[in-house]
């Protein structure tokens, strides 16, 4: 690169990062540790996040297995865990919730895919601040160390649910985890710091490192979505960090921010938490939507219907997402005037999200659809997420929510949104970009076995929970046999059905893990652009070397979705192809 760039253009970290492209060829072989654990290469950092996220998913999955077994078969000794005590039950539920959201969905959807894809898809050699990026992963790893350590301290892991409401979370007398609770908070705070650094990197990289010729409206949807999501994250996380510091003081120093006896207000925490907590839903939803956009355009060989509309609706969703958070507190004692307003905004936000779904269906319409494994996942995402969205209408109406609040209906609803986001869309992404990441193919047949083995049990877990919730089944109960009203005929059968389906679903993940790791090493070799896709990452070799584009950074001539162009013989038209 030349030094004629304006002097203020090159921050000092920036210089270090772009030092790479000069060394891309005569790059000295680093030792294993430096290459995989101390790397500033965005692809390695993406892999670090991806594999850490996968590992945490195993922990989250194990936790749900243990506590669901307790719900279905109260008092039994769970194989692989032992007897689940009431304290264990709380800790397991909390671990499952916080791990799946903060340590699986966030790192995989935002950090792993963002790090891996952003520089590749915008035609850059690396992030703008590579060392900040490395620090981000290190902080994230530290947060996991703190979290996992909290499982083994005196009193065990925190058991106050992932929402961590005071007074339960604020006082060791109530939650009985004098060490687990503050450690959980510290872990969450560290994790946020990590994503803050990552988000800063994503935004600046998209702004300042796009390949020559790439306009903002030539950027693939998934990159837009990840960047909009990181901006949402950065803008909404502040109040929760403020609340977390206050809660940490309440737990450790003895202040009374959330203690009415000392002049505090417990509902205040809920505001601070959900101010972040609801935008967080859209933080993970938008990247998932972006993945689906990439996959369905590639496999229906059609231009994305209304590219700009998708971006504007994503921005609109993001803006609206700041005005919906109090719908989590309809019966927590908030002002009814507020409940009305938030009811309306909550129902409003379904419009842009529905619009995105319509755009995807319109893209599919008339395309030559290939039902590969990633495509199956993407289609399943649209269908399953739709169910989650539609059931949200019931909960968003403040009147209906009075009945549904804290029932299994809520659980089924948000799992119908979060599972498609954090797993279905992620499986679409992982299988779609696998040839790029490893230069190998995954096994299609086993991929489809895994797909059906996940989708069918998934519905068999949560449809029973909808039924239970509609019958008033209350959540956060350790042993239903103590509640005759919740043990009416059929209710326990539905719980058992959900639990057994869960076991089946978890068992099928073994298929995926074996397929994934076997293919990564022994799979058939993949060419650079196996799906005949247009975006820039497919124009780099598979797997891309350090510096990404060995023949120099690409120049972009057109948008990312020029499939089946009438004037061309080829049905795809790579963004960097001059003609």
């Amino acid at each position: 690169m030349s030094s004629t760039a304006t002097p203020e253009a090159s921050g000092h970290s920036h210089d270090d990062g772009h030092g790479h492209d000069g060394h891309a060829h005569g790059h000295a072989e680093q030792n294993f540790f430096l290459k995989y654990f101390w790397s500033t290469d965005h692809k390695i950092i993406g892999f670090q996040y991806l594999f850490t996220g996968m590992f945490m998913a195993l922990i989250g999955g194990f936790a749900v297995y243990a506590f669901r077994m307790q719900i279905a078969f109260p008092g039994m000794s769970v194989p692989g865990y032992g007897r689940v005590t009431a304290t264990d039950y709380n800790a397991l539920v909390t671990t499952h919730g916080s791990v799946m959201i903060f340590w699986v969905a966030m790192p995989v959807l935002i950090a792993a895919l963002g790090n891996y894809l952003i520089p590749l898809m915008i035609g850059a050699d690396d992030m703008v601040f590579p060392r900040l990026n490395r620090l981000s992963y290190q902080l994230f790893l530290l947060s996991i160390v703190v979290l996992i350590a909290s499982f083994f301290v005196q009193g065990g892991a925190f058991g106050g649910a992932w929402t961590s409401y005071p007074p339960l979370s604020a006082k060791p007398e109530y939650n009985l985890t004098p060490l687990g609770a503050p450690m959980w908070l510290v872990a969450v705070a560290l994790e946020f710091a990590a994503f803050l650094l990552g988000g800063i990197n994503f935004v600046t990289t998209l702004m300042n490192s796009r390949a020559p010729g790439m306009k903002m409206f030539d950027v693939p949807i998934v990159i837009w979505m990840i960047v909009i999501a990181s901006i949402l994250f950065m803008a909404s996380v502040g109040p929760l960090v403020a609340g977390a510091i206050m809660l940490l003081f309440d737990q450790t120093v003895g202040t009374g921010f959330f203690d009415p006896k000392k002049g505090g207000d417990p509902v205040l925490w809920q505001h601070l938490f959900w101010f972040f907590g609801h935008p967080e839903v859209y933080v993970v939803l938008l990247p998932a939507m972006g993945i689906v956009a990439e996959v369905i355009t590639t496999f229906s060989r059609k231009k994305l219907f209304a590219y700009k509309t998708v971006i504007y609706t994503a921005v609109g969703t993001g803006a609206l997402s700041f005005f919906v958070w109090a719908h989590h507190q309809f019966i927590a004692g908030i002002d009814p005037r507020m409940a009305n307003i938030f009811s309306v905004t909550t129902l409003l936000i379904s419009i842009p999200v529905a619009e995105m779904v319509f755009v995807y269906i319109a893209t599919l319409f008339g395309g030559s659809i290939r039902l590969t494994t990633p495509m199956l996942w993407a289609l399943a995402f649209i269908g399953e997420f739709l169910l989650g969205g539609v059931t949200g209408i019931f909960l968003g109406s403040s009147g209906a929510d009075i009945y549904f609040h804290d029932t299994y209906f809520v659980i089924a609803h948000f799992h119908y949104t979060f599972f498609p986001i954090a797993f279905i869309a992620v499986f679409a992404a992982v299988t779609y970009w696998f040839p790029k990441m490893f230069g190998k193919y995954m096994n299609e047949a086993w991929g489809k076995v895994h797909f059906w083995g996940t989708i069918i049990p998934f519905n068999f877990i949560f449809i029973p929970l909808f039924l239970l919730g509609a019958r008033g089944d209350h959540r956060r109960i350790y042993d239903y046999t103590h509640f005759p009203d919740l043990m009416k005929p059929g209710m326990q059968d539905l719980r058992v059905l959900a639990t057994l389906s869960l076991v089946v679903l978890l068992a099928f993940q073994v298929v995926f893990l074996v397929n994934y790791f076997y293919s990564a090493f022994k799979g058939p070799k993949a060419e650079a652009n196996p799906w005949k896709a247009n975006t820039l990452e497919w124009q780099a070799p598979s797997p891309p070397p350090h510096g990404n584009f060995p023949e120099g950074l690409p120049t972009v001539y057109r948008g990312p979705y020029e499939y089946s162009h009438p004037d061309r013989q080829d049905d795809h038209w790579p963004q960097n192809s001059p003609s």
Binding site: S236, V267, F322, S398
Partner: protein
Amino acid sequence: MLTLACAVCGGGPDPARGSYIVMSIIISLLPLAMLGGILAWVIISARAAEAAPQKTDDGGLPS
């Protein structure tokens, strides 16, 4: 106003409820205002950079 039927709604002294509403409005609008400001600044700078003579090594391509 179905929510008024709810027994737990509308607790707390009135000034606190009022300030909840005011603070909710401020805290919800603030991020949008800041992000909008940054976006406007970036767009204005981009326009200015386009108007100014090119001195980049962009290969003369529009950015």
